[in-house]
């Protein structure tokens, strides 16, 4: 197909497009496996592969920094936390009874009600054609740097306040996790 580069609004073309298709199918398959697997350890490992595949999609989209953060924080941090907790509490609790609640029908109805507005928006909305600039994710002050530098520039200059709020949020989450995880027998009152 000639002029594949000039298709308006195309995000990926050619081999990168096929790579996206492969990654998307893998990501959806592992996501279904997360929900369906009975054993939480299997769920956690499928979730880990899902995160890695989504990180690949990010890197395809010129978001190299976010892809690296995804691998470091999700695959390296959150999944280790999940596996630790599974090993702390994992015993006969998971194997026995049914893995699913008895509200399948309501959940599927809910999902269909959720699907209809999405399809409506997808078929009616025409996103405006904006000329894509290939260097938008690498340029710092008109100079070609790297994606990490560009993200850092935006993060520390334009979004400094949200950045600081996020650090306070992490502190609150850490204190909360410590308080919740403490044994209640140690309470003095």
């Amino acid at each position: 197909m000639t002029g594949a580069e000039t298709v308006p609004g195309a995000l990926l073309t050619g081999a990168a497009g096929w790579a996206f298709v492969v990654f998307a199918v893998l990501a959806l398959g592992t996501a279904i496996a997360v929900v369906v697997a009975r054993n939480p350890i299997h769920s956690a490992l499928f979730l880990l592969s899902c995160f890695l595949i989504v990180a690949c999609i990010f890197i395809l989209q010129q978001a190299e920094f976010v892809g690296a953060v995804q691998i470091l924080v999700y695959a390296g941090g959150i999944m280790v936390l999940f596996l630790f907790v599974i090993m702390l509490v994992h015993q006969r609790t998971v194997k026995d009874a049914v893995a699913f609640q008895h509200q399948w029908d309501i959940a599927v109805l809910f999902l269909i009600a959720f699907l209809l507005p999405f399809l409506y928006v997808l078929w009616t909305e025409r996103f405006p054609a904006i000329a894509s600039s290939p260097d938008a994710f690498r340029a710092v002050r008109g100079r070609i740097a790297g994606n990490t530098q560009a993200v850092a520039w935006a993060l520390y200059r334009d979004y400094l306040l949200p950045f600081e709020v996020a650090s306070v949020f992490l502190l609150v989450a850490m204190v909360g996790a410590v308080v919740l995880g403490k044994r209640s027998a140690e309470r003095v009152d």
Binding site: G9, L12, V66, V69, V73, A107, L122, A154
Partner: protein
């Protein structure tokens, strides 16, 4: 294969729906938490796709924030899991129903 924003929207929607279904139908509290992470991941996918589509870096910055929130949410959720397991010796969300009327 030419990929447009619509492909991304469909993939992201399906990922979100799978996560939502997991939250609604699973009984194991840990799997419910993992499904929430799936939903946040779908949101990130959308942010990155629109960032590319609009040639705007803001989407990438906000997906970094979303990952931060996801980390905090996972820490709190897992602490709640430990606390629930200590008190009830179970992870079944249907048995943690002492607050219902």
């Amino acid at each position: 294969m030419t990929i447009t924003i619509n492909h991304f929207l469909v993939v992201s929607f399906l990922l979100f729906s799978i996560g939502l279904l997991g939250v609604l139908v699973r009984r194991n509290f840990l799997t419910v938490l993992m499904s929430v992470e799936l939903m946040l991941n779908a949101v990130n996918l959308n942010l990155i796709a629109f960032s590319k589509r609009l040639s705007d870096l803001t989407g990438q910055v906000f997906s970094v924030f979303v990952i931060t929130i996801a980390a905090g949410e996972a820490a709190i959720g897992l602490a709640l899991t430990i606390s629930l397991f200590r008190q009830r010796r179970t992870l079944n969300v249907e048995e943690a129903s002492s607050m219902q009327g």
